[in-house]
Each structure stands twice: as structure tokens, then as C-alpha cells.
């Protein structure tokens, strides 16, 4: 049984002019425990909506979403919210650290919604998690005094502190330089595999996506499996990849074009 299983899921919203906007169309995907899955796609293709549905922040318009075999439609709002806190850890592009709170307080925050030992031992658990992401000496530092990479590491510690079954990372390296982004992904991969948590990454960055065991491309609300080669090239039904830093990658990502140069990984 898969941990998360979407079957023919759609998500539509009604626009102010009464037209329907179909964000997701018949998405079917499953994620097993401990798996690393990546979804690539350009802006506005519904990546975040898919992530929000997976993370129980949003609900499908039609289709079925099974969480450990249980249709989420059967869960009450409160149960969904509690399961979101317990089973999912979110890592955002802009880190979304709580302002005015130290690194330790940020990592402690999710544990305020936990119960039992996790709640009462929250400070110790948060401290341990910060040590684990290499920030044991920065626990009392405010987010604005941390570098981008450090902030994202705090966010990762915060996402993992409740021991989630699934980590949902929305452009986790989007606000970081290549080197820092690589280090953050190393950390995310390492901790996810250590804790046995599934990792679903949404990204523009094909290098980041290539780290995943399975990759998908989302275009116009349709999810298509692809295959990326992290070392040199990537192949599949996504036709192109460029190596420049001009932003052309995003534009061309979903368009037919020439094959990549041999060294062609994105920066």
C-alpha cells in the first residue's frame, strides 16, 4: 500500500468571470514510504496546487486521494489538520521562518501542536534537530542574522522535528545559490533517508529534480513521468535543457528543442 495515492485527481476553481480554471487534470501518482519523488514544471502549471493537495492544505475537486489507504474525504477537517501536522513536513522556497523568533523557537513551533512527550520535550527535541542540521551553535540566533542556507536548514529542521512520514519541499533551493542549494539538498536527502520519510520535491531546478528516484513533469495540469540523468544529460519526453543562467531553462523546459549539451546541468 502506498503512503500517498492520487487517482485521477482534478482541481478546478471558478474565476471571477465565471469561467472554470482547471489547474490539475486527472493526476495519478503514488508515493511510497521513504521514496524521493520530484515534480518539475514551469510557473503556473499547478505544481504548488499538487503539493498543497498532497499536504492536505487543499482538497481535490474530483478524483481520489488515499492517505495510507484511507480516502481523505472521509476525514474531518480537524483530523486532516492534525494529520497534516503529524505526518507532513513542509519546506518552502522562502523558508517561511517565523520572524522575531530564534532558530530554536522556530523549530519548537510545530511541537506546540504535538501531544504527549513530543510536546513536553519540545525544546530538547528542537535542539537535537538543529544539531542534526549543523546549527547546534546557532540556536539562539534570529533568522535575519542567518544566511540563506542556514535559514533553509532551520526550515528543514522545523519540517522534520515532528518526525513526519512525508516531507513536501516547494522549491527548496529556489532562493539559494547553486552551491548552497546543493548542500541543502544533500542534507534534505540525507535526513529523509535516515528518518525513512518520503520526500516530494517541487522544483524548477532539474539538477535538484534529478536527485529523486522518480521524476514527473507537470504541464497544463497534466502529470507525466519523466526520467532525468543527474550526471550528464536527461532524457524522456521533456525535450530540452539548457546550461545557461539566463532563465531560458524555464522558458524552454516544456518546449520542443535541441538536445542538451553534454555538460548540460542547470546551475
Amino acid at each position: 500500500m502506498s503512503l500517498l495515492e492520487l487517482t485521477d485527481v482534478t482541481r478546478s476553481v471558478r474565476l471571477p468571470d465565471d469561467r472554470m480554471l482547471h489547474i490539475l487534470r486527472g493526476v495519478t501518482v503514488s508515493v511510497g514510504a521513504g521514496e524521493h519523488v520530484a515534480v518539475v514544471g514551469r510557473s503556473g502549471t499547478g505544481k504548488s496546487t499538487l503539493l498543497n493537495i498532497l499536504g492536505l492544505l487543499d482538497a481535490p475537486t474530483t478524483g481520489e486521494y488515499l492517505l495510507e489507504g484511507v480516502p481523505i474525504g472521509r476525514l474531518s477537517n480537524g483530523t486532516r489538520t492534525r494529520r497534516r501536522g503529524r505526518d507532513f513536513g513542509f519546506v518552502f522556497q522562502q523558508f517561511n521562518l517565523l520572524p522575531g523568533r530564534t532558530a530554536l523557537e522556530n523549530v519548537t513551533a510545530p511541537l506546540l501542536y504535538a501531544r504527549g512527550k513530543q510536546f513536553w520535550n519540545r525544546t530538547r527535541l528542537a535542539q537535537q534537530m538543529l544539531e542534526r542540521v549543523g546549527l547546534g551553535d546557532r540556536v539562539d540566533t534570529m533568522p535575519d542574522k542567518l544566511s540563506g542556507g542556514e535559514q533553509q536548514r532551520v526550515a528543514i529542521a522545523r519540517a522534520l522535528v515532528r518526525g513526519p512520514r512525508v516531507i513536501l519541499a516547494d522549491e527548496p533551493t529556489g532562493a539559494l545559490d547553486v552551491e548552497t542549494g546543493g548542500a541543502v539538498m544533500d542534507l534534505l536527502d540525507e535526513i529523509a533517508s535516515q528518518t525513512g520519510a518520503a520526500l516530494v520535491t517541487i522544483t524548477h531546478d532539474l539538477a535538484v529534480a534529478a536527485r529523486a528516484e522518480r521524476q514527473y513533469r507537470l504541464a497544463d495540469g497534466v502529470l507525466v513521468p519523466i526520467q532525468l540523468d543527474a550526471q550528464t544529460d536527461w532524457v524522456g519526453d521533456v525535450p530540452t535543457l539548457v546550461a545557461d543562467r539566463s532563465g531560458a531553462t524555464e522558458r524552454r523546459l516544456l518546449e520542443p528543442g535541441p538536445r542538451l549539451p553534454e555538460n548540460g546541468l542547470l546551475a
Binding site: T81, R82, G85, A109, L112, R115
Partner: protein
């Protein structure tokens, strides 16, 4: 359990982090609570002061005054009035009661013998009328059986004696033909500036040692000639004061009037209570105080709502992030509400403390024109009202931003 503790911890953290904002928001509430608490306390003290003033003038609530007048010149002086008084106390189990008789008696002062106003009373009058001597003491039971009369005098009397105080344990001779030496044990303030010398003495002592007419006859003096003013003065009975429970006043009034009437044939007995109500002024003061305090609190609360609403807008993203941690809408609502309540509770504490400091450090009792005998401690009711108002304002002011917070769309909030 963890949910409640978690919400409180969260609210407290929020307040700790936004100290300046909270401080600004709460200055108004704290001031309002100080105002409402102080006003409530002052009103309580004012009521107490007024009550005590009334008690001093007409006895405690409710004191029945029993008086009797001869219906015509032929009516004989009642001989059983004192016995009837004693029976009354037994029959109705009245704890505090006093007779009160106003007499003129000759007293030997340094400038010669003078007729001085003498009030003969019982020990309990001190309690009923809240009499507190400026110096020395009021009568005690032991004085009833003393071998010489004891006196409580006014300051004018002491001045007439040429004495500054009671340090010399002064005595004075009372009576005409056979004066009796009486010890002065207490001094009262004059009722008004330039008051005449006056003396209080225990009723039984006076009649035992000095006599109804002030002659000192009981100690060997001669009776005044019939038809003289002194003799006519005997045509009176002491007024009787009875401190009775308020809920029994009506029944007791009727029965006591009947009982005392039986003891005084040919006399008219009147029984009056002093329970005339505290008048409209007391109520008006209370309402004015509540009105002022309520208005102050309303303004403080509006300031709080204003700042809380702005804060929620500012915190939309944070609320979204917390929702992603598993914060239910109930928890978000409760959290924002609790923040407001915790904040105003703290503001309430500050306000009440300020009010206590203010009330304790200004001479409230002298402002009310004289010392308050039973100076009420800072009224607990005022502190409780202050705290309740603060918390209620916090809850009311928190509901609006809390509702806004719950309506925050998580997805939009995170991307905000």
C-alpha cells in the same frame, strides 16, 4: 491538556515577541482598568464614609429610637421605664442598646461651678454611634460597677478645665449640694468649633451617684424644691436606642412600641428607625462611576481591537505557516483570542496594581471630610471588577481579529 497549555504558551510567546505592540495596545486598557478600579474603590470608600457619618449621627443601620412624651401635665413620671428597657433586651435578644438622656448638671470648673450639658448613656452607644475618643477610651462594662463615676468629655470641657490632655488623670466634681468626684477617661472631638463643654456619663452611674436632677442627692445632697426647673427636668424618660437587624425592623417597631407603651401610661411612645435609605445621591455616584469607568474601558478596548486587527493582517503569513504545522482553525481562533485575553489580563493586573497604589497613597479618608473608622481595605470587589472587565474586553476585542485569522486561506497565507 497539551492543547490548552500549547495555546497558552503560544499566546505568551506572541506577546513576548511583540512586546512593544502589546505595550502600546495595553496602555489604554491598563489605564481604563486603573480608572474603573479606582472609581469603584473610591465609591466603596465613599459609601463607607457616608455610612459611618450617618452611623455617627443616627446610629448604625438599623437603629430604632424609642422616645416617650407626657400626653398632659398630669401624667406621672414612669417608674418602670428602665425595667421595661431591660425586659426589651431580653425578650428580643437585642445585643446593642443604649439609653440616652440629656441633662444639665453643675460641675466645678477652675472658674467656678457651671451648669454643663451631661449626656447619660450606656456602654453600647459607643458601638451604635461609632464613637471613637480622640484621646483616652470609651466606657467599658467595668465602669458600670466602678465606685466613682467615669466621664468622657469633649475637648471644650478639657479646655475649660485648663488641661491639655489626660496625662494627669484628671478628676472633676459633679453635683450641686453633694458633689461627686468623677474621673475623666476619654476625650471626644468637639461636635463643631466653639462647642460648649459637655460630658458623657454612664446612665446607671449617673443615677446612682448624682441623681436624676443633677443634685448629687443620692450621695447625700438635698432634693431640689418642687416646681423648680430642676424638678421639671425629671419629667422625661431617656430615649432608647436599639440596634436591630434590618429585616426585622417593621415587626420589632410595632411590638416594642406596644411593650414600652404599657410601661408608660399617659405617655406617648414613638419608635422610629433610621433606615431612610442611602438616597439618590449614592446611587447616582455609583452609576456615574460605572459610566466613567465603562467609557474608559470601551475606549481602551477599541484601541485594542484596532491594533489587534492590524496585527492579524501583519501575521497572516505566520498564521498560514502555523496551519501547515497542524494548527486547527479552533486552535488559531483560540490562540488569537487567548493572546488578547492574556494581554488584557496582564494589563488588568497592572491597572489594578496601579489603582491600589494610587488609592493607598492618597489620603482618601481625609478627602471625605474626616477619618473613616472602619477604613475598608482596598475593596476586593473593585479589583475583581477591574480584572473581569479587562478580561472581558480582551475576549471581546479578540473575537474580531480571531475570526479574521480563521478566515485566512492557508495557501494564500503561506505565499503572502
Amino acid at each position: 491538556m497539551t492543547g490548552i497549555v500549547g495555546a497558552i504558551v503560544e499566546a505568551w510567546d506572541e506577546l513576548r515577541i511583540h512586546k512593544l505592540r502589546v505595550l502600546l495596545a495595553l496602555i489604554g486598557v491598563a489605564c481604563a482598568v486603573t480608572a474603573i478600579t479606582s472609581v469603584t474603590a473610591v465609591i466603596a470608600m465613599l459609601k463607607q464614609a457616608t455610612q459611618e457619618q450617618n452611623d455617627k449621627q443616627s446610629g448604625r443601620q438599623v437603629t430604632l429610637m424609642v422616645s416617650a412624651y407626657p400626653m398632659d401635665q398630669s401624667a406621672a413620671t414612669p417608674t418602670t421605664w428602665d425595667d421595661a428597657f431591660t425586659n426589651l433586651l431580653d425578650r428580643y435578644s437585642i445585643t446593642y442598646a443604649s439609653r440616652d438622656e440629656w441633662i444639665q448638671a453643675p460641675v466645678r470648673l477652675p472658674d467656678g461651678k457651671r451648669s454643663v450639658q451631661v449626656r447619660t448613656v450606656d456602654v453600647d452607644l459607643g458601638t451604635i454611634d461609632r464613637i471613637v475618643p480622640a484621646e483616652g477610651r470609651w466606657f467599658a462594662e467595668v465602669d458600670e460597677s466602678a465606685y466613682a463615676p467615669t466621664l468622657v468629655v469633649n475637648k471644650a470641657f478639657l479646655t475649660a478645665l485648663g488641661l491639655p490632655d489626660l496625662s494627669t488623670h484628671p478628676t472633676v466634681e459633679v453635683g450641686d449640694q453633694a458633689p461627686v468626684t468623677a474621673s475623666i477617661i476619654g476625650v471626644l472631638n468637639d461636635d463643631w468649633p466653639g462647642a460648649d463643654p459637655a460630658v458623657m456619663v454612664l446612665y446607671d452611674q449617673y443615677h446612682r451617684w448624682i441623681g436624676d436632677d443633677g443634685s448629687g442627692i443620692r450621695s447625700g445632697g438635698a432634693a431640689p424644691a418642687a416646681g423648680t426647673a430642676a424638678a421639671n427636668m425629671a419629667m422625661q424618660v431617656p430615649t432608647v436606642y436599639l440596634w436591630v437587624p434590618a429585616d426585622q425592623v417593621h415587626a420589632l417597631k410595632r411590638q416594642i412600641a406596644q411593650d414600652m407603651q404599657a410601661a408608660t401610661p399617659g405617655w406617648q411612645v414613638d419608635v422610629q428607625g433610621n433606615n431612610h435609605g442611602d438616597g439618590g445621591l449614592g446611587r447616582a455616584t455609583t452609576y456615574a462611576g460605572i459610566g466613567i469607568g465603562g467609557l474608559a474601558l470601551l475606549l481602551g478596548g477599541l484601541g485594542l481591537v484596532n491594533i489587534a486587527l492590524v496585527t492579524v493582517r501583519y501575521r497572516i503569513r505566520e498564521i498560514g505557516i502555523r496551519r501547515s504545522f497542524g494548527a486547527t482553525s479552533g486552535r488559531v481562533f483560540f490562540g488569537v483570542l487567548l493572546e488578547s485575553v492574556v494581554a488584557t489580563f496582564v494589563a488588568g493586573l497592572v491597572g489594578v496594581t496601579l489603582a491600589v497604589a494610587i488609592i493607598k497613597n492618597i489620603p482618601v479618608d481625609t478627602l471625605f471630610g474626616g477619618g473613616i473608622q472602619d477604613m475598608p481595605p482596598f475593596p476586593v470587589s473593585a479589583a475583581v471588577i477591574g480584572m473581569l472587565c479587562a478580561t472581558a474586553v480582551g475576549a471581546l476585542a479578540g473575537v474580531i481579529p480571531a475570526s479574521v485569522a480563521v478566515r485566512v486561506k492557508v495557501i494564500d497565507a503561506i505565499r503572502y
